[in-house]
């Protein structure tokens, strides 16, 4: 069974990788399994400077999902390149750096720092984090601004740039098309849907930031729909995510048009979810009549 997938900058031995923000910089999960089994790894968001993120509580559980408002807490791009990338380099897997910021200049600053490392295979441009108030969200919901930040980052990045789409938009296709025209190498989708939970006792939102991003199984139908729609109008490769828990889910994402997938929230319930999916994927592909990942990609469009 051929699980390999070739994408711009990413030679994946299988299409499974942990999603950004749900896997830190890999250290914790490397205590559960050898990260070498992964197709790639998506690091937690990097910003220009260290950020302390939002006040707590930062997470809440919902039906078949969860809300989070971490607020991009991270040690800053410099520190990540100095201490986290070297840790991940020991594994023989492509490292994808998730880049966030509050201004185009900050995005550029982060990419400039990341450029200094030879160990980053691709950039995931996070224009869609709904939990940062300073304006980061604006990039993700306006096609023109998304295009501008994509162009500026593309102009300086040493490695291919994947842009991460927010589902909190009226037209996901318009966003994807603007980003394609701006020269992106790929798309990753979807980020979380903005939601809220209110505690009946305290009478306040559970999450200190009030709103948080909804992830997990609950959002899978929305992710599938958006990937399906984008695949019909855009030629860029897509790394799909949103509620994946099992190898069968991976297949559904491939059918919809994803070339590879990322697993986020499911890591919390099962730290071994990625290696388990990788192990089961060949059987599931075979059961449904495929002899490679590539064969299953986009079949729902045929």
């Amino acid at each position: 069974m051929n699980l390999s997938v070739q994408l711009p900058g990413l030679s994946l031995k299988n299409p499974i990788m942990p999603a950004s923000g749900c896997f830190g910089f890999g250290r914790e999960y490397s205590e559960f399994y050898d990260l070498n089994v992964l197709g790639a790894v998506m690091m937690k968001a990097a910003t220009g400077e260290a950020r302390l993120g939002n006040p707590t509580p930062r997470v809440a559980e919902t039906s078949a999902g969860m809300l989070n408002a971490i607020g991009l807490q991270n040690p800053g791009a410099e520190k990540i390149v100095q201490t986290e990338v070297p840790f991940l380099r020991q594994f023989n897997i492509p490292i994808i750096a998730n880049v966030a910021g509050s201004s185009i200049e900050e995005y550029e600053r982060v990419v400039t720092v990341l450029n200094r490392s030879d160990d980053i295979a691709a950039i995931e441009l996070n224009i869609s984090c709904p939990n940062v108030k300073e304006g980061g969200i604006q990039f993700g919901i306006d096609p023109q601004m998304a295009a501008t930040v994509t162009e500026r980052v593309k102009a300086i990045s040493n490695v291919p740039v994947y842009v991460k789409l927010s589902p909190n938009v009226t037209s996901i296709v318009a966003m994807a098309q603007a980003i394609e025209r701006a020269g992106a190498d790929g798309l990753t989708m979807i980020n979380t849907l903005t939601g809220m939970q209110i505690n009946l006792q305290s009478r306040k939102p559970v999450i200190a930031n009030k709103t948080g991003g909804l992830s997990g199984r609950a959002i899978k139908p929305i992710a599938i729909r958006m990937i399906y729609e984008v695949r019909q109008h855009v030629d860029l490769p897509i790394i799909g995510m949103g509620g994946i828990e099992r190898a069968e889910d991976v297949l559904e994402f491939l059918y919809a048009g994803a070339d590879a997938v990322a697993v986020g929230t499911a890591n919390f319930q099962n730290p071994l979810v990625c290696p388990e999916i990788i192990e089961q994927l060949p059987n599931v592909l075979k059961r449904y009549g495929f002899s490679s990942v590539k064969e299953a990609t986009g079949v729902a469009h045929r």
Partner: protein, 252 residues
């Protein structure tokens, strides 16, 4: 490598109002667990695991006891667990109460509030075995919520307080701190306002606090559970750096 552990239910009993004592079997966890650490427990049908402190272990028998209060749908479901059913847990997770510096004959103070009491029992028992003198102040809402008093009195000096005075002294744990014998170190676990009050009351003393926060991963990867600290980094993660922290290092 760390792994997911399956634990088998040995017993599950309501030991006080809405409070359950769940005894689980797993040799690895029983062997490795240290006082202050927690289990991160999967509850079928729920996205997130539930962190629950380890309240006791019988290392030989491979038994691990936890005590939990039913406060929502996860703990409600845990309360229905029957003998022989299995529970999927990560653990033992997090930091533990340090006590290597204590000598036989030293005296310590343990201050627990409500559902913060369980990890202190494991600590008290461990210190008792080291022949450290343990004094406990245990606070509960009211009489019906008091648990493990008998267990504690066998190994420690115990003072119980309740919010409404229906059992022991009426008041807060901090109200009676002044009355205890001299101690070398203190250890506390309970709701944040209590920990704040304890830290303030014992500002010039060396002590350890154990914190609660809503968790995602429970292993240090998602940054859901941070707590501000006084060091250069500015935060620690309760699930992996904690739940036990030196009182002086946290900024609460």
């Amino acid at each position: 490598m760390k792994k997911r552990h399956m634990m088998t239910v040995i017993a599950n009993d309501e030991v006080a109002l809405e409070t359950f004592e769940l005894v689980l079997h797993n040799k690895v966890i029983a062997k490795e667990a240290k006082p202050g650490q927690f289990l991160h427990i999967s509850v079928p049908g729920h996205t997130l695991r539930r962190p629950i402190s380890i309240a006791d272990v019988e290392r030989e028998k491979g038994e691990v006891t936890i005590l939990f209060k039913v406060v929502g749908s996860g703990t409600n479901q845990l309360a229905t667990l029957q003998e022989k059913e299995t529970v999927d847990v990560l653990g033992p997770n997090g930091s533990s109460y340090p006590f290597d510096s204590l000598q036989k004959g030293d005296t310590v103070l343990l201050i627990g509030g409500g559902i913060g009491v369980p990890p202190l029992y494991f600590l008290a028992k461990t210190l008792y075995e080291k022949e450290v003198n343990v004094q406990c102040i245990l606070g509960f809402q009211s009489k019906e919520y008091v648990f493990y008093e008998e267990q504690f009195v066998q190994i420690a000096d115990v003072q119980i307080v309740t919010d409404d005075g229906s059992y022991g002294a009426k008041g807060l744990v901090t109200d009676v701190i002044a009355e205890v014998a001299p101690f070398k170190q203190y250890y506390s676990c309970g709701p944040l306002p209590m920990l704040r009050a304890v830290k303030e009351k014992l500002a010039n003393r060396d002590g350890y606090l154990s914190f609660e926060e809503r968790m995602g991963c429970g292993v240090g990867a998602c940054y859901a559970c941070v707590i501000p600290t006084n060091d250069a980094v500015g935060y620690k993660k309760i699930c992996s750096d904690g739940p036990v922290m030196r009182a002086s290092e946290v900024n609460i």
